[in-house]
Protein backbone atom coordinates (compact mmCIF):
# COMPACT_ATOMS: atom_id res chain seq x y z
CA UNK A 1 0.00 0.00 0.00
CA UNK A 2 2.68 2.42 -1.02
CA UNK A 3 1.46 5.94 -0.64
CA UNK A 4 4.49 8.18 -0.99
CA UNK A 5 7.28 6.35 -2.78
CA UNK A 6 10.89 6.66 -1.63
CA UNK A 7 11.91 8.71 -4.72
CA UNK A 8 8.95 11.05 -4.17
CA UNK A 9 9.97 11.48 -0.55
CA UNK A 10 13.64 11.90 -1.48
CA UNK A 11 12.86 14.91 -3.70
CA UNK A 12 11.56 16.83 -0.67
CA UNK A 13 14.58 16.15 1.56
CA UNK A 14 15.85 19.79 1.47
CA UNK A 15 12.53 20.91 2.94
CA UNK A 16 11.97 18.04 5.34
CA UNK A 17 15.53 17.81 6.74
CA UNK A 18 16.79 21.38 6.46
CA UNK A 19 13.84 23.77 6.05
CA UNK A 20 15.17 25.30 2.85
CA UNK A 21 12.73 27.92 1.54
CA UNK A 22 12.64 29.94 -1.67
CA UNK A 23 13.10 33.72 -1.57
CA UNK A 24 11.52 35.31 -4.65
CA UNK A 25 14.04 37.48 -6.51
CA UNK A 26 11.29 39.78 -7.73
CA UNK A 27 9.00 40.43 -4.73
CA UNK A 28 11.19 39.17 -1.89
CA UNK A 29 8.51 36.97 -0.32
CA UNK A 30 9.42 33.53 0.96
CA UNK A 31 7.73 30.41 -0.42
CA UNK A 32 7.71 27.23 1.64
CA UNK A 33 7.08 24.50 0.51
CA UNK A 34 8.49 25.45 -2.91
CA UNK A 35 6.43 26.61 -5.90
CA UNK A 36 7.17 26.72 -9.62
CA UNK A 37 5.98 30.33 -9.70
CA UNK A 38 6.03 32.58 -6.60
CA UNK A 39 2.59 32.40 -4.96
CA UNK A 40 2.83 36.00 -3.75
CA UNK A 41 3.66 37.88 -7.00
CA UNK A 42 2.42 35.16 -9.40
CA UNK A 43 5.08 36.29 -11.87
CA UNK A 44 8.60 35.27 -10.97
CA UNK A 45 10.06 31.81 -11.03
CA UNK A 46 13.50 32.95 -9.99
CA UNK A 47 14.35 32.19 -6.40
CA UNK A 48 17.32 31.95 -4.10
CA UNK A 49 17.53 29.30 -1.38
CA UNK A 50 16.86 30.59 2.09
CA UNK A 51 17.58 28.71 5.32
CA UNK A 52 14.46 29.13 7.46
CA UNK A 53 14.73 29.47 11.23
CA UNK A 54 12.12 26.77 11.80
CA UNK A 55 10.45 29.05 14.35
CA UNK A 56 6.86 30.11 14.22
CA UNK A 57 3.47 30.24 15.91
CA UNK A 58 0.50 27.88 15.76
CA UNK A 59 -2.06 29.34 13.34
CA UNK A 60 -4.58 26.53 13.80
CA UNK A 61 -4.48 22.92 14.95
CA UNK A 62 -6.36 19.65 15.15
CA UNK A 63 -6.11 16.72 17.55
CA UNK A 64 -6.21 13.56 15.44
CA UNK A 65 -8.07 10.80 17.23
CA UNK A 66 -9.04 7.24 16.43
CA UNK A 67 -10.71 7.15 13.03
CA UNK A 68 -9.12 10.42 11.98
CA UNK A 69 -5.63 9.04 11.36
CA UNK A 70 -4.53 7.80 7.93
CA UNK A 71 -3.56 4.08 7.90
CA UNK A 72 0.17 4.84 7.93
CA UNK A 73 -0.29 6.87 11.13
CA UNK A 74 -2.89 4.63 12.80
CA UNK A 75 -0.19 2.80 14.75
CA UNK A 76 1.10 6.08 16.17
CA UNK A 77 -2.42 7.02 17.27
CA UNK A 78 -2.97 3.60 18.82
CA UNK A 79 0.31 3.70 20.72
CA UNK A 80 0.27 7.29 21.91
CA UNK A 81 -3.35 8.41 21.76
CA UNK A 82 -4.48 11.51 19.92
CA UNK A 83 -1.74 13.55 18.28
CA UNK A 84 -1.74 17.26 17.40
CA UNK A 85 -1.24 18.54 13.85
CA UNK A 86 -0.90 22.26 13.25
CA UNK A 87 -0.58 24.82 10.52
CA UNK A 88 2.28 26.99 11.74
CA UNK A 89 2.99 30.53 10.58
CA UNK A 90 6.77 30.62 10.24
CA UNK A 91 8.79 33.66 11.29
CA UNK A 92 9.76 34.29 7.64
CA UNK A 93 6.08 34.47 6.59
CA UNK A 94 4.87 31.24 4.98
CA UNK A 95 2.58 28.78 6.71
CA UNK A 96 3.23 25.04 6.76
CA UNK A 97 1.50 21.98 8.18
CA UNK A 98 3.27 19.61 10.55
CA UNK A 99 2.82 17.47 13.65
CA UNK A 100 3.48 18.84 17.10
CA UNK A 101 5.60 16.55 19.27
CA UNK A 102 6.56 16.66 22.96
CA UNK A 103 3.39 18.49 23.94
CA UNK A 104 0.37 17.37 25.92
CA UNK A 105 -2.41 17.71 23.29
CA UNK A 106 -4.52 19.57 25.86
CA UNK A 107 -1.93 22.35 26.08
CA UNK A 108 -1.75 23.14 22.35
CA UNK A 109 -3.16 26.58 21.59
CA UNK A 110 -3.44 29.01 18.70
CA UNK A 111 -0.56 31.50 18.98
CA UNK A 112 1.70 29.03 20.82
CA UNK A 113 5.39 29.44 19.83
CA UNK A 114 6.99 26.36 18.25
CA UNK A 115 10.22 25.37 16.50
CA UNK A 116 11.16 22.53 14.18
CA UNK A 117 13.17 19.46 15.06
CA UNK A 118 14.18 16.54 12.84
CA UNK A 119 12.08 13.56 13.88
CA UNK A 120 10.89 10.20 12.67
CA UNK A 121 7.68 10.79 10.72
CA UNK A 122 6.60 7.24 9.81
CA UNK A 123 7.69 4.07 8.04
CA UNK A 124 6.65 2.98 4.57
CA UNK A 125 8.12 0.47 2.11
CA UNK A 126 10.30 -0.61 5.07
CA UNK A 127 12.05 2.77 4.93
CA UNK A 128 11.98 5.09 7.94
CA UNK A 129 11.02 8.58 6.82
CA UNK A 130 12.51 11.46 8.78
CA UNK A 131 11.38 15.06 8.56
CA UNK A 132 10.50 18.11 10.60
CA UNK A 133 8.00 18.15 13.43
CA UNK A 134 7.22 21.12 15.62
CA UNK A 135 7.94 21.18 19.35
CA UNK A 136 6.97 23.83 21.92
CA UNK A 137 9.45 26.75 22.07
CA UNK A 138 10.00 29.80 24.18
CA UNK A 139 9.09 33.20 22.79
CA UNK A 140 12.65 34.60 22.45
CA UNK A 141 15.00 33.59 19.65
Amino acid sequence: MAHVSVPMYWRTIPQRYKMIGQKCKKCGHVNFPPKGVCKYCSVSSEFEDLQLSGRGKVHTFVLISSGGAPPEFAEQEKAGGMYPVAIVELAEGPKVIGQIADADPKTVKIGMPVKTELRKIYTEEDVIRYGFKFVPATEEK
Partner: protein, 388 residues
Protein backbone atom coordinates in the same frame (compact mmCIF):
# COMPACT_ATOMS: atom_id res chain seq x y z
CA UNK B 1 -28.70 32.49 -19.81
CA UNK B 2 -31.59 30.23 -20.82
CA UNK B 3 -29.95 28.30 -23.62
CA UNK B 4 -29.54 25.03 -21.74
CA UNK B 5 -32.24 23.03 -19.98
CA UNK B 6 -32.45 20.02 -17.69
CA UNK B 7 -35.32 17.74 -18.66
CA UNK B 8 -34.75 14.66 -16.55
CA UNK B 9 -32.93 13.60 -13.39
CA UNK B 10 -32.57 10.38 -11.45
CA UNK B 11 -30.77 8.94 -8.46
CA UNK B 12 -30.15 5.49 -7.10
CA UNK B 13 -30.74 4.92 -3.44
CA UNK B 14 -27.71 6.03 -1.44
CA UNK B 15 -26.30 3.58 1.10
CA UNK B 16 -24.42 0.32 1.34
CA UNK B 17 -25.27 -2.17 -1.39
CA UNK B 18 -23.21 -5.38 -1.37
CA UNK B 19 -25.15 -6.69 -4.39
CA UNK B 20 -24.39 -3.74 -6.67
CA UNK B 21 -21.24 -2.46 -8.40
CA UNK B 22 -20.71 0.76 -10.35
CA UNK B 23 -22.49 -0.61 -13.45
CA UNK B 24 -25.63 -1.63 -11.58
CA UNK B 25 -25.73 1.54 -9.48
CA UNK B 26 -25.33 3.77 -12.51
CA UNK B 27 -28.02 1.84 -14.41
CA UNK B 28 -30.42 2.29 -11.46
CA UNK B 29 -29.90 6.07 -11.60
CA UNK B 30 -30.17 6.07 -15.39
CA UNK B 31 -33.51 4.23 -15.35
CA UNK B 32 -34.78 6.60 -12.66
CA UNK B 33 -33.74 9.56 -14.84
CA UNK B 34 -35.43 8.09 -17.94
CA UNK B 35 -38.64 7.57 -15.97
CA UNK B 36 -38.61 11.24 -14.94
CA UNK B 37 -38.72 12.49 -18.54
CA UNK B 38 -42.39 13.48 -18.87
CA UNK B 39 -42.82 12.80 -22.58
CA UNK B 40 -40.55 9.76 -22.62
CA UNK B 41 -36.90 9.26 -23.51
CA UNK B 42 -35.43 7.33 -26.40
CA UNK B 43 -31.91 6.62 -25.10
CA UNK B 44 -30.65 6.76 -28.70
CA UNK B 45 -31.18 10.52 -28.53
CA UNK B 46 -28.39 10.87 -25.93
CA UNK B 47 -25.34 12.06 -27.85
CA UNK B 48 -22.63 12.20 -25.16
CA UNK B 49 -22.06 11.23 -21.52
CA UNK B 50 -19.91 12.82 -18.80
CA UNK B 51 -19.47 10.67 -15.70
CA UNK B 52 -18.10 11.92 -12.38
CA UNK B 53 -16.03 9.34 -10.50
CA UNK B 54 -13.10 9.48 -8.10
CA UNK B 55 -11.85 5.97 -8.77
CA UNK B 56 -14.13 3.54 -6.96
CA UNK B 57 -11.29 2.03 -5.01
CA UNK B 58 -9.18 1.52 -8.11
CA UNK B 59 -11.21 -1.41 -9.43
CA UNK B 60 -11.91 0.27 -12.78
CA UNK B 61 -9.68 3.31 -12.93
CA UNK B 62 -9.38 3.43 -16.70
CA UNK B 63 -12.26 3.77 -19.16
CA UNK B 64 -14.97 3.51 -16.52
CA UNK B 65 -17.28 5.94 -18.36
CA UNK B 66 -17.52 3.65 -21.39
CA UNK B 67 -18.22 0.70 -19.10
CA UNK B 68 -21.13 2.22 -17.17
CA UNK B 69 -22.55 3.78 -20.36
CA UNK B 70 -22.58 0.55 -22.39
CA UNK B 71 -24.11 -1.36 -19.47
CA UNK B 72 -26.95 1.18 -19.50
CA UNK B 73 -27.42 0.73 -23.27
CA UNK B 74 -25.47 3.77 -24.42
CA UNK B 75 -23.01 2.55 -27.04
CA UNK B 76 -20.87 4.30 -29.62
CA UNK B 77 -21.14 7.78 -28.14
CA UNK B 78 -18.42 10.01 -26.69
CA UNK B 79 -18.04 9.29 -22.96
CA UNK B 80 -15.65 10.81 -20.45
CA UNK B 81 -14.80 10.20 -16.83
CA UNK B 82 -14.57 13.54 -15.02
CA UNK B 83 -12.38 13.51 -11.92
CA UNK B 84 -12.16 16.42 -9.52
CA UNK B 85 -12.38 14.49 -6.27
CA UNK B 86 -15.67 15.11 -4.44
CA UNK B 87 -16.60 17.74 -7.05
CA UNK B 88 -16.41 15.23 -9.92
CA UNK B 89 -20.20 15.16 -10.36
CA UNK B 90 -20.54 18.94 -10.30
CA UNK B 91 -17.86 19.22 -12.97
CA UNK B 92 -19.52 16.45 -15.03
CA UNK B 93 -22.69 18.54 -14.98
CA UNK B 94 -20.77 21.63 -16.08
CA UNK B 95 -19.05 19.60 -18.82
CA UNK B 96 -22.42 18.49 -20.20
CA UNK B 97 -23.74 22.06 -20.04
CA UNK B 98 -20.67 23.41 -21.87
CA UNK B 99 -20.99 20.67 -24.50
CA UNK B 100 -24.59 21.68 -25.25
CA UNK B 101 -23.76 25.38 -25.02
CA UNK B 102 -20.99 24.95 -27.57
CA UNK B 103 -23.49 23.50 -30.02
CA UNK B 104 -21.52 20.27 -30.36
CA UNK B 105 -24.44 18.17 -29.13
CA UNK B 106 -28.11 18.86 -28.47
CA UNK B 107 -28.54 16.25 -25.73
CA UNK B 108 -25.89 15.20 -23.22
CA UNK B 109 -25.98 13.09 -20.09
CA UNK B 110 -24.25 14.17 -16.88
CA UNK B 111 -23.89 11.55 -14.20
CA UNK B 112 -21.78 10.24 -11.41
CA UNK B 113 -21.19 7.03 -9.54
CA UNK B 114 -19.08 5.75 -6.65
CA UNK B 115 -18.70 2.40 -4.97
CA UNK B 116 -17.08 2.99 -1.60
CA UNK B 117 -18.10 0.10 0.62
CA UNK B 118 -16.37 -2.72 -1.30
CA UNK B 119 -13.02 -1.56 0.00
CA UNK B 120 -11.64 -2.19 3.47
CA UNK B 121 -11.58 0.65 5.97
CA UNK B 122 -7.84 1.10 5.61
CA UNK B 123 -7.94 1.16 1.83
CA UNK B 124 -10.87 3.55 1.94
CA UNK B 125 -8.86 6.08 3.89
CA UNK B 126 -6.06 5.61 1.41
CA UNK B 127 -8.39 6.36 -1.49
CA UNK B 128 -10.02 9.35 0.14
CA UNK B 129 -6.72 10.81 1.28
CA UNK B 130 -5.44 11.05 -2.27
CA UNK B 131 -7.50 14.17 -3.00
CA UNK B 132 -5.74 16.39 -0.51
CA UNK B 133 -2.15 17.54 -0.73
CA UNK B 134 -0.25 14.26 -0.42
CA UNK B 135 3.30 15.45 0.18
CA UNK B 136 2.56 17.72 3.13
CA UNK B 137 -0.99 17.40 4.46
CA UNK B 138 -1.13 13.64 4.26
CA UNK B 139 2.38 13.21 5.63
CA UNK B 140 1.54 15.36 8.62
CA UNK B 141 -0.90 12.58 9.52
CA UNK B 142 -4.22 14.03 8.42
CA UNK B 143 -7.22 12.82 6.45
CA UNK B 144 -10.06 15.11 5.36
CA UNK B 145 -11.61 15.16 8.82
CA UNK B 146 -8.31 16.58 10.09
CA UNK B 147 -8.12 19.19 7.35
CA UNK B 148 -11.66 20.47 7.91
CA UNK B 149 -10.95 20.42 11.65
CA UNK B 150 -8.04 22.82 11.04
CA UNK B 151 -10.49 25.16 9.28
CA UNK B 152 -13.13 24.72 12.00
CA UNK B 153 -10.67 25.45 14.83
CA UNK B 154 -9.57 28.70 13.17
CA UNK B 155 -13.18 29.67 12.35
CA UNK B 156 -14.10 29.20 16.01
CA UNK B 157 -11.05 31.23 17.05
CA UNK B 158 -11.64 34.15 14.67
CA UNK B 159 -15.42 34.42 14.78
CA UNK B 160 -16.52 32.70 17.97
CA UNK B 161 -18.31 29.94 16.09
CA UNK B 162 -19.65 27.47 18.66
CA UNK B 163 -19.55 23.70 19.01
CA UNK B 164 -23.38 23.70 19.10
CA UNK B 165 -23.53 25.60 15.81
CA UNK B 166 -21.46 22.93 14.06
CA UNK B 167 -23.73 20.26 15.51
CA UNK B 168 -26.87 22.18 14.51
CA UNK B 169 -25.89 21.71 10.86
CA UNK B 170 -25.93 17.94 11.39
CA UNK B 171 -29.24 18.07 13.30
CA UNK B 172 -30.91 20.12 10.54
CA UNK B 173 -29.63 17.92 7.73
CA UNK B 174 -30.60 14.68 9.48
CA UNK B 175 -34.08 16.14 10.06
CA UNK B 176 -34.38 16.72 6.30
CA UNK B 177 -32.78 13.42 5.36
CA UNK B 178 -35.22 11.54 7.59
CA UNK B 179 -37.83 12.52 5.00
CA UNK B 180 -35.76 11.45 1.99
CA UNK B 181 -36.50 7.83 0.96
CA UNK B 182 -33.22 7.72 -0.99
CA UNK B 183 -31.00 8.94 1.87
CA UNK B 184 -28.44 6.68 3.55
CA UNK B 185 -29.41 7.72 7.09
CA UNK B 186 -33.15 8.35 7.28
CA UNK B 187 -33.20 9.28 10.93
CA UNK B 188 -33.15 12.37 13.08
CA UNK B 189 -30.48 13.05 15.67
CA UNK B 190 -30.65 15.28 18.74
CA UNK B 191 -28.36 18.22 19.42
CA UNK B 192 -27.08 16.44 22.53
CA UNK B 193 -26.16 13.33 20.51
CA UNK B 194 -24.43 15.46 17.90
CA UNK B 195 -22.46 17.49 20.44
CA UNK B 196 -21.29 14.40 22.34
CA UNK B 197 -20.28 12.23 19.37
CA UNK B 198 -16.97 10.37 19.61
CA UNK B 199 -14.03 12.59 18.60
CA UNK B 200 -12.57 11.89 15.16
CA UNK B 201 -10.35 14.94 14.71
CA UNK B 202 -11.01 17.53 17.41
CA UNK B 203 -12.90 19.82 17.17
CA UNK B 204 -14.82 17.52 14.79
CA UNK B 205 -16.63 14.43 16.05
CA UNK B 206 -18.38 11.58 14.27
CA UNK B 207 -21.59 13.57 13.77
CA UNK B 208 -19.67 16.36 12.05
CA UNK B 209 -18.53 13.96 9.32
CA UNK B 210 -20.36 12.50 6.36
CA UNK B 211 -20.14 8.80 5.67
CA UNK B 212 -18.86 6.53 2.93
CA UNK B 213 -21.60 5.65 0.51
CA UNK B 214 -22.47 3.70 -2.63
CA UNK B 215 -24.63 5.53 -5.13
CA UNK B 216 -25.18 7.05 -8.55
CA UNK B 217 -27.13 9.84 -10.20
CA UNK B 218 -27.91 11.01 -13.73
CA UNK B 219 -29.13 14.29 -15.22
CA UNK B 220 -30.34 14.86 -18.78
CA UNK B 221 -29.06 18.15 -20.22
CA UNK B 222 -30.26 19.53 -23.55
CA UNK B 223 -30.46 22.58 -25.79
CA UNK B 224 -33.40 24.70 -24.62
CA UNK B 225 -34.75 24.63 -28.17
CA UNK B 226 -35.45 20.91 -27.95
CA UNK B 227 -36.47 20.84 -24.27
CA UNK B 228 -40.20 20.85 -25.00
CA UNK B 229 -39.82 17.55 -26.85
CA UNK B 230 -39.13 16.04 -23.45
CA UNK B 231 -41.23 18.01 -21.00
CA UNK B 232 -43.46 21.06 -20.65
CA UNK B 233 -41.74 21.97 -17.39
CA UNK B 234 -37.97 22.02 -17.96
CA UNK B 235 -35.57 23.52 -15.46
CA UNK B 236 -33.17 26.02 -17.04
CA UNK B 237 -29.48 26.48 -16.34
CA UNK B 238 -29.25 30.16 -15.41
CA UNK B 239 -25.50 30.18 -14.89
CA UNK B 240 -22.53 28.18 -13.75
CA UNK B 241 -19.03 28.79 -12.46
CA UNK B 242 -16.06 26.74 -11.39
CA UNK B 243 -12.72 27.47 -9.76
CA UNK B 244 -9.60 25.85 -8.43
CA UNK B 245 -7.67 26.86 -5.32
CA UNK B 246 -4.38 25.89 -3.69
CA UNK B 247 -4.65 22.21 -2.79
CA UNK B 248 -2.95 22.56 0.59
CA UNK B 249 -4.72 24.74 3.13
CA UNK B 250 -1.40 26.19 4.37
CA UNK B 251 -0.87 27.78 0.93
CA UNK B 252 -4.18 29.65 0.90
CA UNK B 253 -4.79 33.37 1.39
CA UNK B 254 -7.18 32.59 4.21
CA UNK B 255 -7.71 29.45 6.28
CA UNK B 256 -11.39 30.25 6.87
CA UNK B 257 -12.48 31.00 3.29
CA UNK B 258 -12.88 28.62 0.38
CA UNK B 259 -11.70 31.03 -2.30
CA UNK B 260 -12.80 28.46 -4.90
CA UNK B 261 -16.40 28.78 -3.70
CA UNK B 262 -16.21 32.59 -3.81
CA UNK B 263 -14.81 32.64 -7.33
CA UNK B 264 -17.10 29.90 -8.70
CA UNK B 265 -20.24 31.53 -7.29
CA UNK B 266 -19.25 35.03 -8.45
CA UNK B 267 -18.88 33.64 -11.97
CA UNK B 268 -22.21 31.81 -11.77
CA UNK B 269 -24.04 34.89 -10.41
CA UNK B 270 -22.54 37.06 -13.14
CA UNK B 271 -23.56 34.67 -15.92
CA UNK B 272 -27.07 34.38 -14.48
CA UNK B 273 -27.41 38.14 -13.93
CA UNK B 274 -28.30 37.39 -10.32
CA UNK B 275 -26.85 37.93 -6.86
CA UNK B 276 -26.79 35.78 -3.74
CA UNK B 277 -29.97 37.55 -2.60
CA UNK B 278 -31.90 35.95 -5.47
CA UNK B 279 -31.10 32.39 -4.41
CA UNK B 280 -34.19 30.89 -2.78
CA UNK B 281 -32.78 27.48 -1.89
CA UNK B 282 -29.49 25.65 -2.19
CA UNK B 283 -27.86 22.25 -2.00
CA UNK B 284 -24.36 22.90 -0.60
CA UNK B 285 -21.38 20.65 0.02
CA UNK B 286 -21.60 19.69 3.71
CA UNK B 287 -19.00 16.91 3.76
CA UNK B 288 -18.28 18.17 7.27
CA UNK B 289 -20.53 20.48 9.31
CA UNK B 290 -18.01 23.35 9.10
CA UNK B 291 -18.18 23.08 5.30
CA UNK B 292 -21.86 24.09 5.28
CA UNK B 293 -21.08 27.12 7.44
CA UNK B 294 -18.25 28.11 5.08
CA UNK B 295 -20.66 27.72 2.14
CA UNK B 296 -23.17 30.19 3.68
CA UNK B 297 -20.41 32.78 3.87
CA UNK B 298 -18.50 32.11 0.67
CA UNK B 299 -21.65 31.85 -1.48
CA UNK B 300 -22.67 35.24 -0.06
CA UNK B 301 -25.74 34.11 1.90
CA UNK B 302 -24.34 35.91 4.95
CA UNK B 303 -21.24 37.93 5.90
CA UNK B 304 -17.89 36.26 6.57
CA UNK B 305 -17.84 34.96 10.12
CA UNK B 306 -21.61 35.17 10.60
CA UNK B 307 -22.61 31.67 9.47
CA UNK B 308 -23.20 30.44 13.03
CA UNK B 309 -25.78 33.13 13.86
CA UNK B 310 -27.26 32.84 10.33
CA UNK B 311 -27.91 29.16 11.00
CA UNK B 312 -29.26 29.83 14.51
CA UNK B 313 -31.78 32.31 13.08
CA UNK B 314 -33.36 29.49 11.10
CA UNK B 315 -32.93 30.91 7.59
CA UNK B 316 -31.69 27.61 6.17
CA UNK B 317 -34.34 25.31 7.66
CA UNK B 318 -36.97 23.98 5.21
CA UNK B 319 -39.37 26.43 6.87
CA UNK B 320 -36.85 29.28 6.53
CA UNK B 321 -36.47 31.91 3.83
CA UNK B 322 -33.56 30.08 2.15
CA UNK B 323 -33.61 26.34 2.83
CA UNK B 324 -30.21 24.66 2.49
CA UNK B 325 -29.79 20.92 1.96
CA UNK B 326 -33.47 20.02 1.99
CA UNK B 327 -32.30 16.63 0.69
CA UNK B 328 -30.44 15.91 3.92
CA UNK B 329 -27.15 16.98 2.41
CA UNK B 330 -24.07 14.84 2.24
CA UNK B 331 -24.38 14.40 5.99
CA UNK B 332 -27.63 12.43 6.01
CA UNK B 333 -28.22 11.57 2.35
CA UNK B 334 -24.68 10.17 2.01
CA UNK B 335 -21.64 11.14 -0.06
CA UNK B 336 -20.87 8.72 -2.90
CA UNK B 337 -18.00 10.95 -4.10
CA UNK B 338 -18.45 10.98 -7.90
CA UNK B 339 -22.24 11.05 -7.67
CA UNK B 340 -22.64 13.88 -5.17
CA UNK B 341 -22.69 16.80 -7.64
CA UNK B 342 -25.26 15.34 -10.02
CA UNK B 343 -27.19 14.03 -7.00
CA UNK B 344 -27.53 17.63 -5.82
CA UNK B 345 -28.80 18.57 -9.29
CA UNK B 346 -31.35 15.73 -9.06
CA UNK B 347 -32.70 17.22 -5.82
CA UNK B 348 -32.80 20.75 -7.25
CA UNK B 349 -34.58 19.55 -10.44
CA UNK B 350 -37.33 18.05 -8.29
CA UNK B 351 -37.51 20.95 -5.84
CA UNK B 352 -37.96 23.49 -8.63
CA UNK B 353 -40.60 21.35 -10.37
CA UNK B 354 -42.43 20.52 -7.15
CA UNK B 355 -41.85 16.80 -7.62
CA UNK B 356 -39.93 15.90 -4.44
CA UNK B 357 -40.85 12.36 -3.36
CA UNK B 358 -42.19 13.36 0.06
CA UNK B 359 -44.21 16.61 0.23
CA UNK B 360 -42.89 17.28 3.76
CA UNK B 361 -39.49 18.01 2.20
CA UNK B 362 -40.82 20.10 -0.67
CA UNK B 363 -39.74 23.76 -0.55
CA UNK B 364 -42.72 25.94 -1.41
CA UNK B 365 -42.76 28.15 -4.50
CA UNK B 366 -39.08 28.00 -5.21
CA UNK B 367 -38.02 29.28 -8.62
CA UNK B 368 -34.28 29.84 -8.35
CA UNK B 369 -31.88 27.40 -6.71
CA UNK B 370 -28.14 26.84 -6.48
CA UNK B 371 -26.04 23.68 -6.25
CA UNK B 372 -22.52 23.81 -4.81
CA UNK B 373 -20.00 20.97 -5.03
CA UNK B 374 -16.52 21.02 -3.43
CA UNK B 375 -13.55 18.79 -4.27
CA UNK B 376 -11.29 17.84 -1.38
CA UNK B 377 -10.89 20.67 1.11
CA UNK B 378 -11.67 23.24 -1.62
CA UNK B 379 -9.09 22.55 -4.33
CA UNK B 380 -11.91 22.44 -6.89
CA UNK B 381 -15.41 23.92 -6.68
CA UNK B 382 -18.41 24.03 -9.00
CA UNK B 383 -21.58 26.10 -8.68
CA UNK B 384 -24.63 25.85 -10.94
CA UNK B 385 -27.72 28.05 -10.71
CA UNK B 386 -31.03 26.67 -11.97
CA UNK B 387 -34.41 28.31 -12.50
CA UNK B 388 -37.85 27.10 -13.35
Amino acid sequence: MTKVAIVGAGQSKYGEFPDKGIKELFFEAFKDMAASVDKGLDPKGIEAAYIGNLGSGGFQLGNMSALVAEYAGLQYIPTMRIENACASGGYALVAAIMDVLSGTHKVALAGGVEKMTDVSGLKQKYWLGVSGDTEYERLAGTTFAGLYALIAQRHMHEFGTKREQLSSVAVKNHKNGAQNPKAQFQREITLEQAVKGPIVAAPLNLFDCCSTTDGASAVLVCDAEVAKQYTDTPVYVAGFGTSSDYLAIHDRISTVTLEGTKKASERAYKMAGLTAKDIQLAEVHDCFTIAELLAYEDLGFCEKGKAGPYLDEGHTQISGDRPVNASGGLKSKGHPIGSTGTGQAYEMFNQLRGTVQKPSRQVKKAEIGLVHNVGGSGGTVSVTIMRR
